[in-house]
């Protein structure tokens, strides 16, 4: 009876009772039944057998008998209503199942095996059930692409459900970028049918509390049997009904777990889930470098353009006034030539002055007259090019704050203006302005 003491957990056996047993103590019936019941709990086991006599009780719990195929041994079992509904395994006579749980001795109803988990046993059965459920949920549209929500960009608050002891959680945490994630982790079993209640409980926790951007469910690969929980109908429906997007990273062989099919995004490893989460953050980092280069490049381009347009403007200016400059130059060479001639003449005159004074004087007079006429002409021409002279034709120069007004942008309404006309100045004021756009007139 050592196991009485060995039994741990929340039902710690009262050691003094065992001491009393050894002492040959006399028990009351109830004390003895209680003692036996406590002791029986130590025989927690998984039993495989064939179902017979399935009886739903008045409160919804299911009473059934498990027996061996050949021998006549049998064991009476019960599974509580909540658990029965959770697993989605409909017990029928002749069905082969594995029941996991512990025996108990009830004061009134006697011995019973309390099945906490039931799962179908036998080759091909799981596969058949998987296919049937897949077909059913598919028909309902649970897996349809239209139902899938996008994984939010820059997720921060991540709900994580997996086993604390598995390799999955390490893979996940090691590959998750350092982007300030707030990970809310719930430890859950992930192995076999027994994981169903914890997985659903964990999902429900997040559904009730909310406050996450995305929920992540991960576990390493496994057989159809070990992944059973992820093919549980209640769990699959719960995933589909989550108010936040769900990412499943569940390894698998051939058959994709139905949980993955119902998730908004499914990948086959925990590491791949981190890629999904990091995606937008990684991209943002890359975008930043791109933006940085782009902004500098574009500003440089703007500077280049500005430089170019300055140059262009000065070219246009010199083009426009080129004719004027050319004329001026022509005039100045003409003047220079004339001056050279004058210089030459004067020297000539000096040389021949003595020869014929009168003749020379006459000739000089004529020459100077001619030169005067020429200079007058030059003066006239120069006048034409004088902007002030232009004012006589009705053009005027408008000044605002001593600066020449060239554009409507140069003045503000209400500002005083000085208008220079041919013979003087007019004081004025801007009453209003209209911009004719780039093309001007």
């Amino acid at each position: 009876m050592v196991f009485f003491i060995a039994k741990g957990g929340n039902r710690v056996y009262n050691k003094t009772m065992v001491d009393y047993l050894a002492d040959g103590k006399i028990f009351s019936v109830s004390d003895y039944v209680k003692l036996l019941d406590e002791g029986l709990r130590a025989f927690r086991a998984r039993i495989v057998g064939e179902v017979s006599e399935v009886n739903p009780g008045p409160t919804g719990h299911i009473y059934f008998t498990l027996k061996d195929e050949k021998d006549e041994y049998l064991i009476r079992c019960v599974i509580w209503r909540g658990r029965y509904n959770l697993y989605g395994v409909r017990l029928r006579e002749g069905m082969k199942i594995i029941a996991s749980g512990e025996p108990s001795l009830h004061p009134k109803y006697g011995f019973k095996f309390i099945a906490e988990v039931i799962e179908p046993a036998g080759e091909g059965i799981l596969k058949k059930e998987y296919e049937a459920l897949k077909k059913k949920l598919e028909a309902e549209g649970i897996f349809s692409p239209e139902r899938k929500r996008p994984i939010p960009e820059f997720p921060r608050r991540v709900g994580l459900i997996t086993s604390w002891n598995g390799a999955a959680i390490n893979d996940f945490l090691n590959n998750l970028g350092k982007y300030g994630y707030q990970i809310k982790f719930i430890d859950s079993r992930v192995e076999g049918q027994a994981a169903v209640p914890e997985l659903i409980g964990a999902i429900d926790y997040f559904i009730e509390r909310g406050q996450i951007d995305v929920l992540v469910l991960i576990r390493g690969g496994g057989s159809l049997e070990s992944l059973q929980a992820f093919n549980n109908e209640t769990l699959v429906r719960r995933i589909a009904s989550c108010p936040f997007p769900v990412i499943c990273g569940i390894g698998h062989d051939k058959d994709v777990p139905l949980a993955s099919l119902a998730a908004d995004r499914a990948v086959s490893t925990p590491t791949a889930v981190t890629s999904v989460l990091n995606e937008s953050w990684d991209r943002a980092l890359a975008d930043l470098s791109m933006f940085e280069k782009e902004i500098i490049y574009r500003y440089q381009e703007m500077l280049r353009k500005a430089e170019f347009s300055l140059e262009d403007f000065s070219n246009k200016l010199s083009g426009q006034f080129g004719v004027f400059f050319q004329n001026l130059e022509k005039l100045s060479t003409q003047l220079k030539d004339r001056l050279a001639e004058i210089d030459y003449s004067i020297r000539n005159i000096k040389r021949s002055f003595v020869v014929n004074k009168d003749l020379l004087l006459r000739g000089f007079k004529k020459w100077t007259d001619n030169t005067g006429i020429f200079l007058e002409g030059v003066e006239k021409q120069l006048k034409i090019f004088n902007p002030i002279y232009q004012l006589r034709f009705g053009y005027s120069l408008v000044y605002s704050r001593k600066k020449l007004v060239r554009s409507t942008k140069d003045v503000e309404v209400g500002e005083p203006l000085d208008i220079r006309v041919s013979d003087g100045k007019i004081n004025s004021e801007v009453k209003g302005k209209t911009n004719y756009g780039k093309r001007g007139i």
Binding site: G57, T59, H61, V78, W80, G82, R83, E116, E153, F154, W164, L173, L176, K178, Y179, G180, Y181, Q182, I183, K184, F185, I186, D187, P197, E198, G201, A202, Y205, W281, A284, L285, D287, L288, F291, E292, E294, I295, I296, R298, Y299, E301, M302, L303, K305, A306, S309
Partner: protein
């Protein structure tokens, strides 16, 4: 940008806006361009910091599994 929550999504959108601003400029406003460059540089710096400095927080939630009651 003060102490308020920095939003990386908005920052990226703003940066994109700055690039578009340059793209759609017909007149060359060098001063305004420089302002945009400064704004962009600040946004990039802040975003980089936001993207890289923060450590992840890990919280293990204790959850009580309600036990099935006996009949």
């Amino acid at each position: 940008m003060g102490k308020e929550e920095f939003n990386i999504k908005q920052a990226l959108k703003k940066l994109e806006g700055i690039i578009n601003w340059f793209e759609n400029r017909e007149e060359m406003d060098i001063e305004a361009g420089l302002e945009k460059v400064k704004e962009g540089a600040a946004l990039i710096k802040r975003s980089r910091k936001e993207l890289k400095k923060v450590e992840n927080e890990f919280e293990k939630i204790k959850r009580e599994l309600e036990e099935e009651e006996d009949a």
